[in-house]
Structure formats: C-alpha cells, structure tokens
C-alpha cells in the first residue's frame, strides 16, 4: 500500500466555488470543467497572491517544500488550461483540513478552533488569547516539517540552522 498523502492545511475556504468563461469569440463545443483542488487553490493563494516563497508556503500548508512545488505546478497548469481552452473552473476536492487554527484563551484556559477572523474567545468573550503552536500529537509532524527542505544535508536552510537536532 502506498504511503497516504499528508493532510494539507488550508487557511480558509475559497470565496467562490468556481469560475465560468464568457464571451467566446467563436462557438465551441461545451467542454468538461477543470477541477482545481482546495490544496491547489491554497498554493496559488500563498505563492502567487500573497507572494510567500515556497519554503514559507510549504510550512503554512504543512507539507514539504518539494510537495508544495508539485501542488503549485499542477495548480498553474489547471488554471492556465481553463484560461486558454475557455473551460469552466471548479474548486473542489483534495485532501485538506480547513482553518484548523487552534487558539488558547488566557482568561478561561480553554482551547478553541479559530473561526473567520474572530477576535474574542467564544466561551468567555475575553480578547486575551494566544496561538497554540504544538498540540501534543502534532509535534511529530512539526519536526518532520522542519527537517525537510529538499536540498540535501549540506544546504544551509535557515530553519535547519535554527533547529539542528531534527536531521535524521
């Protein structure tokens, strides 16, 4: 059995569920839609819209840097296909986890999932909260993340010089 895909983190659901072409210059046969996966949408958003570099974007999505490059390539391929061939673009599917950002309230000591730009604790309404970096079970994931940069042992990745113990 192949190794299952790592769940990609997506910050928020996309605003739209797809795009439709209009104003064809000559009549074309109705072609099939292009399906852009959620993870590909997120890669496009991080790399091209927000302008993160791929190393940072891969950390935000919880995948390795080479994997992010592959997701990004596939995303650009699909978007360009939709533009050039005048096909409908539908954003759906993919192995993702949406908006799973855990926060800790410093007033009532509860943990909660942050919802779209909420700025107070859902339980006590206090605004004093902090981000939870490692949620215990996610600690292993975080380690493997920091270890990989995909550029060999000797490459001086900034992350690696900061966290030297993680290399296997």
């Amino acid at each position: 059995m192949p190794r299952p895909k790592i769940i990609r983190k997506v910050a928020d659901k996309p605003l739209i569920s797809g795009l439709k072409p209009y104003g064809m210059s000559y009549p074309v046969k109705k072609s099939e839609a292009v399906f852009l996966l959620y993870e590909e949408y997120e890669a496009l958003r991080l790399c091209d819209y927000e302008g993160h570099n791929q190393c940072d974007a891969s950390k935000l999505m919880g995948v390795s840097r080479p994997t992010l490059t592959r997701i990004c390539m596939s995303a650009r391929n699909k978007v360009s296909m939709a533009v050039v061939e005048g096909r409908q673009l539908i954003i759906e599917g993919g192995k993702v986890e949406i908006g799973n950002e855990w926060m800790k309230c410093n007033n009532c000591h509860c943990f909660f999932v942050k919802f779209q730009h909420e700025d107070s604790c859902p339980l006590c309404g206090s605004k004093e909260m902090s981000e939870v970096q490692n949620d215990g079970e996610d600690a292993d994931n975080e380690l493997s993340l920091k270890a990989c940069c995909g550029r060999g042992k000797r490459h001086r990745c900034q992350e690696r010089t900061n966290h030297k113990i993680y290399h296997i």
Binding site: E97, H109, C110, F111, F112, P122, L123, C124
Partner: protein, 104 residues
C-alpha cells in the same frame, strides 16, 4: 445561537464530561432565550463512530458550538465542514459554571 456541552448527568449542577462522543447527556444552552435543555446521547452505545453520530444528533438541533474535554479525530475534520466550532475545556467545571462563563 445554541451551544452543546457534554455532560455526565442531566441536571445543571452535574459535571462536564471530558469525552465528546460517549458522554451520557448533552446540555444544549440557547444563548438567545437563556434556556438549557438536556438530551440523551443515543450515540454513546455505538461500537464505532459515536462522535460523528453525536455530532449529527446535535446539528439536527441547530447547535453551532461544542464544549467538551476533548474531541476525536473524526470530529475535528467533520466540524469544519459543518461550520461547528469546537471548544476544548480541560478543567472539570460544572454545566452551570460553563453557562455562567458563556454569559460573561
């Protein structure tokens, strides 16, 4: 807005249950008319998938927030699809105390 709290008993002074799927009762607190209602967790006796079944039970009641000691893996992925917010409370508070906190 309705908030569901996993509970060990069906009275307001009973403790919150630290498990979500297999707790005995759910206290459903309505923040608009400030009423509390207790429902039996029929999903607790299932051999598998108690969490998703309980979540289904609660979403049918229109709950948008869940308070419990911990949640299983299935709930964590399901809840974001259903737009239900998870709140993890590690301290052993009673239902009444949690409702008081909710009222700020």
């Amino acid at each position: 807005m309705k908030v569901a709290i996993s509970s060990k008993g069906n009275t307001i002074d009973s403790e919150m249950d630290s498990r979500f799927g297999r707790c005995k009762f759910f206290a459903i607190y309505d923040s608009e008319d400030k009423s509390t209602m207790f429902i039996d967790n029929t999903a607790a006796s299932l051999t598998e998938g108690a969490g998703p079944a309980a979540l289904q039970l609660l979403t049918a009641q229109g709950v948008s927030k869940l308070v419990s000691g911990d949640f299983g893996l299935k709930i964590k992925t399901l809840s974001s699809d259903l737009n239900v917010q998870l709140i993890v409370m590690r301290e052993n508070y009673t239902i009444e105390k949690i409702i008081n906190i909710l009222n700020h």
